[in-house]
């Protein structure tokens, strides 16, 4: 990007978030002054680092209603998901070899399940059609774990975590939820919702990149086979020096999120409604993907019919957006999440995800809506499909031939 060009507006808060300046303030002293290893037991550098890490642990625990001893710092939600799924699966594998998850999970959850499949496990990938999750029917006597994400990163849908948690607890099955997009945005309580394992990501809640946490319940005890062997740090579940500045940053981000959750939620839903109303009023044939009621308002996934998604993204070059999640954007296939919720393939190709966060302003939302309407109209003018629809031809009746 040219230095003189103004930077694009950032509307991709599901991919990552800017670090809150207050979090940076909390982290800096631990980068240059209080730089001790928190596991050094014998001197003040170690003691001050350890107390900072323990304070951060408490801040993370308070966000989700957990005990600080139940929080393990990791390198991010991907590692937390790997630890939860592979760890629980492998520990109980002598008697239980079945894991249940959904088709709309994040790639790291699906890939961890695939790795277990290669080790001889049976995995059930539940479909997520409009009649809800058929969870109870898929329980087996040898089910050890259910993994269902709280808020989807592509379409913003919120799963009924409390009901799922109670159902799993009644059958003595462990319940893991990937709360990377949910923690700090919607209220979560691991005891109220009967969650046994939870993954948290630092850079989704205005914290530093490269840190996350996993909540592992102590009562009743959830046992894991650790992925990372070493000196036994973090209860033996994740060996390795805990990065004090990153942990402090995560703690500060969680504390800020807990205090400002209500205010942020109100503001984000107001901006979200503004964006959707403007776009829907300005354009016909716009479909919102995902459940309209049970959703997090900051993640809006819209499909613009008869327009190709990638070309719209290129046309909106002064707004930073994405179609599908960041981890699948390299491939040309439309998102598997949209396919799983039953979106038509042509609509899946034309979907754009708008992300609204703590630092989004009204002007940004208005500008995005106006530009979007302008560009979609322009692209539709060029589209032969749009012409055919205007003439009244039903596109579904056409037989396309290859040549």
């Amino acid at each position: 990007m040219n230095e003189n060009e103004p930077r694009p507006l950032y509307m991709d808060f599901q991919a990552t978030t800017p670090m809150d300046p207050r979090v940076l303030d909390a982290m800096l002293p631990y980068q240059v002054n209080y730089y001790g290893n928190p596991h050094s037991r014998t001197h003040a550098y170690g003691w001050e680092s350890e107390s900072a890490v323990e304070l951060a642990r408490k801040q993370v625990a308070d966000l989700i209603g957990a005990d600080p001893r139940e929080i393990i710092f990791t390198s991010g939600a991907t590692e937390s998901n790997n630890i939860s799924i592979k760890g629980v699966g492998r520990f109980y594998k002598t008697k239980k070899k079945h894991v249940i998850t959904t088709q709309t999970e994040h790639k790291c959850v699906l890939d961890s399940c695939r790795a277990l499949e290669a080790e001889g496990f049976h995995i059930t990938y539940l479909p997520v059609k409009s009649n809800g999750l058929q969870l109870e029917e898929s329980f087996r006597p040898d089910t050890s774990l259910v993994s269902i994400m709280t808020v989807n990163n592509e379409i913003g849908v919120i799963q009924p975590i409390k009901e799922i948690g109670h159902l799993c607890q009644s059958r003595k099955i462990f319940f893991h939820t990937d709360a990377a997009q949910a923690a700090g945005k919607i209220p979560l309580d691991v005891n109220d919702m009967k969650i046994d394992l939870m993954s948290i990501s630092g850079h989704k809640i205005y914290g530093p990149k490269g840190v996350g946490a996993v909540y592992v319940r102590r009562r009743p005890r959830v046992r894991l086979e650790p992925l990372q062997s070493g000196g036994g740090q973090e209860r033996g579940l994740r060996s390795g020096t805990v990065p004090t500045p990153l942990a402090v940053g995560l703690g500060a981000a969680c504390e800020i999120a807990r205090q400002e959750m209500k205010y942020d939620e109100h503001r984000v839903s107001m901006l979200s409604k503004r964006l959707i109303d403007k776009i829907m009023a300005g354009l016909p044939d716009v479909i919102m993907n995902g459940d309209p009621e049970k959703r997090y308002s900051g993640c809006i996934n819209l499909s613009f019919a008869y327009v190709e998604g990638e070309s719209l993204l290129m046309a909106l070059k002064d707004v930073a957006l994405s179609s599908g999640s960041a981890c699948t954007s390299a491939s040309l296939e439309p998102s598997y999440v949209l396919r799983a919720i039953g979106t038509d393939e042509d609509l899946a190709h034309s979907s754009i995800r708008f992300g609204i966060g703590r630092f989004t302003t009204e002007e940004e939302v208005d500008y995005t809506a106006e530009k979007c309407i302008l560009q979609v109209k322009r692209l539709r003018e060029m589209s032969p499909l749009w012409e055919m629809v205007q003439e009244g031809i039903d596109l579904k009746s056409i037989k396309w031939t290859q040549h």
Binding site: R223, R235, G236
Partner: protein
Amino acid sequence: MAASTVLRKSMGLTLTIRTVSNIPNLSDWARLKHCRHLQHSTSGARCQTACRSLHTSAGLCHSDEEGAERERGKDVVNVVYVDRSGRRIPVKGRVGDNVLYLAHKHGIELEGACEASLACSTCHVYVSDRHHGKLPEPDEREDDMLDMAPLLQENSRLGCQIILTPELEGMELTLPKITRNFYVDGHTPKPH
């Protein structure tokens, strides 16, 4: 024990001399060796320091009385230890015995680094499946220490927290291949 050790050291003596009563067929020297071998039994044996003359009060080595009772078959609980090489060692324990100290008494390599104070995981054992459910629920601190043990399984417990009861008859205690104090050179620490 610590105070009397200090006392003995201050008097410049290195021998601990105890008197023993009524052990048939043992000479004096053998009795002395016998007592020192039983130094780390759970019940405290009375020991007297010599200040230039032998005290001969009626001190008893309690373990020997226990040994006599064991022969009579009262409160016997038979357990089997399976050591790291797979060798099965049947042991006659008594009700109320601590599994860790019972192992030490029979020379089994169960390391108890913290001496049953729930501060380590070196006495980690696998309990046979049909007895695992009969043990009481682990204390939260025991669970915390077990979290740190390598090669953890569903039937893992800390040996120092298992007290023998009659229903644990026939229990098999398998030692895991490694403990947290793993010595890659094959060194095994002596029990203290």
